[in-house]
Symmetry: D2
Subunit: 261 residues, 4 copies
């Protein structure tokens, strides 16, 4: 069965900015989904901020293996309840790809627990994405680096936790660097942050970037059965211990009582 | 100058439960603070849920090097604004020691980005805390293990991110295990989670546990100047680049405009 | 194409000890290979210490996706040149599963850079392998734990580097614990250490352990093209730089000269 | 008591190359030691390849808290027995700072377990060392970056294991990047790799680099008592178990017998 990917797009600048419209007439989410659908192992659809529940109903998320997130101008308009729902699905095992300005999305900040801040400059300069972890699934089919002629600079310090793996580090014409490809795991869910993607440049039309997106979805897919009980805190009563045990000392809870939380 | 530690106590069961009162007549926070003050390098005071701003005003936190957190029955009563304030100070460099049932505190869940759930059993069974990382600052002065005659079992799976370091792993009489001493970093702040500490047993009177608490405060103290700008996302304009640069391509932002977030 | 696994067995105690012979009449390596071959995605063969080049010729290793290593009595008899060859293949991308007493094998110590020492006791006690990272590929199909009625105790501190992931932690009847399932990466090669496997108990006949072995081989398989140039240190001469560059300052090396190493 | 640092220098190009002599008339090791001795908390001395036992006798190493390693032309001339001795002391708790071309030293490769290879170019180009982990002890007193006007390019992929922490990432004029400040721990010993330091440029005379060296020594110093037993594998006999235990099943070893290794 194909990996069920949903590309979530904020879909704001595509409606309001002529340059963005010209580059992404059907929205950035559509372009990204088309890139993913070039891989037969992926079946990608889209969802946007403007849809009911931002297109991320419980049922939709339950049927999503990997969610790709692009947002910029409207992070604050994403409903907290939906953010919690997405976080929960990541814990259960849904993969999450966070793109570019998504570093400041509610969902990414919640999963990282840090400010996720960085430096920036919108000068259309050159970016060279170096492959650090060359045999990583996300780097499949790439050479030693991917070059973008025009990009928004995102520079260190990038206030995220130490990653599980550093896959890419970017060099910028203006003199900065960024750890531009980082992996994390939260619960059963795999997370990949990818730096490039400013909306005024044709970055999601770039062949190398499209390869990375497809790779990332393949990598982030966790085929394990969803860990739906992950947030439970089950009591293991004395009668059901692995080793024989007798009750000792005082206790707060009566038999069968739920724990505090 | 001594490390300025604040021991935050929820101070609920000490008021409502006779056994807890007997063990901690001045509150668990006072017992923990006394343990810390046995180390001349630490100057520990206390704060509780019931105080204005839970005892954690901006000024108080600004003057705190390491915060120790014990909560259980009233996680939900901790004001979100205070939680955000504590999180911010951790990012800036304040150390945080999260004790026992604090695994379900708002502040710990926010910093981890995961459910932080685990198994539990209140049977007064034996726990043996094995030192995994023997030369770690937090293990200073300990032997190969610390034994608690009566403890609440906290068992795996403990739904937290892979830690920076695993310092302790606990063995339980009833057959479970727990990674009971874990380190993390979020921004400039060091975080240590320590498993033992159920309020119906005299755990914070135990010499080995008190050694661990003092060690943890010493370890978590980051003497670097607070990174107060950590959540900023500064623009680096073209005139101030490290390398000469000319503007290329279209852009969203006018000169000097703030970034979106 | 099936994953090409080679199970390397030291094959010493199977020849010299009656109990081991009774449990593993065809050698432990054969039992392990049979366990792997129950998975159609794997095609496992064996190699032993006694074969020429210990059964690990260059050609054999070049055609191996995952190597499983069991050794105990004869670590010192493994030829250093073969160890180097195996290490090289791990760097290039071959997976490596190190079992039980293999913690003291030359290959594991070389890849870890640490003593890899631990405590031990051969008392036939009970071991309970707790699944820590529940949705990990290596834990597929397991419940919350796997119980072995008779095992050799291997206890902490286990002197290995902090792992990429802690998949299993074991509880022992005699009171110890062990991080018994740990993952690492060295170069392009994935490494999994698994604790259980003493030769006087029927551990590799245990259904849960056999599931873990099959899972581990699937996980350790890196389908990327072998990174054969990984140990090279290529010079990037001035004429071939990514950005225009002029030679500045004195230098040690003439054009085209090899680097020092 | 001051931190006892030993700066080990290969001391080859200082004898054979006029430019290196001009920059480092007393040897690079002397310049580095002088930089360290500007910090009253450090007492640095030197050792060189040419001394008996390369200046690293057992007694000398036993009295060393942090060893700084610079080698390039003569990695192969370092005695394997001395390398093993140094590795052993790192395991016990001695800090190790590996500089520049030391990436290919025997000691670094042994501790990493990987090829430690990278790209290089000796063009005297500009390097900008970005501070990634800004409140890290090793970054104390630095601004957002340190600039070197002339450096040897060392570029990714740098074939080392995922680090504990990425402290610095370097930008190079010619278009490459390097994770140029990485921390590791092996046993009780802390390890820091620092990229810059080519011998034909005055890099160890640079104020920012000298600050980094002093910081690194302070960070790498582990004041814990040396873990001299780290490579032992002690048997825990049945009579001395933490929990009562009876012998079950067959065993290989008689009481009191040493383990295999």
């Amino acid at each position: 069965m194909a990996i069920r990917a949903v590309v979530w797009g904020e879909n704001v600048h595509e409606q309001t900015n002529r340059e963005v419209q010209a580059l992404y007439p059907d929205g950035m989410h559509s372009t990204i989904a088309a890139a993913l659908n070039q891989d037969k192992a992926i079946r990608a659809t889209t969802a946007t901020l403007q849809e009911p529940e931002h297109g991320l109903s419980k049922a939709r998320l339950a049927g999503t293996d990997v969610l790709v997130w692009w947002g910029h101008a409207a992070h604050g308009k994403v409903d907290d309840a939906i953010v919690e729902r997405v976080q929960r699905r990541v814990w259960e095992g849904m993969g999450l790809i966070v793109l570019h300005s998504g570093h400041f999305s509610k969902i990414f900040k919640r999963l990282m627990g840090t400010p996720c801040s960085l430096k920036w400059r919108e000068a259309g300069e050159r970016e060279r994405i170096w492959v650090i972890n060359r045999s990583h699934r996300i780097a499949e089919g790439l050479g030693e680096c991917v070059e973008l002629p025009n990009t928004e600079m995102y520079g260190e310090p990038f206030a995220v936790p130490e990653p599980l793996e550093t896959v890419f580090v970017s060099w910028f014409e203006g003199g900065e660097v960024l750890r531009s490809g980082l992996t994390y795991q939260r619960g059963a869910g795999r997370i990949f942050y990818f730096g490039p993607g400013h909306e005024t440049y044709p970055i999601y039309h770039h062949a190398g970037v499209r390869t990375i997106l497809r790779n990332a979805v393949n990598w982030a897919h966790n085929p394990a059965r969803p860990w739906t009980a992950i947030a439970d805190a089950p009591n293991v009563p004395i009668g059901k211990t692995k080793e024989p045990l007798v009750q000792k000392g005082p206790r707060l809870h009566a038999d069968g009582e739920a724990g505090l939380r």
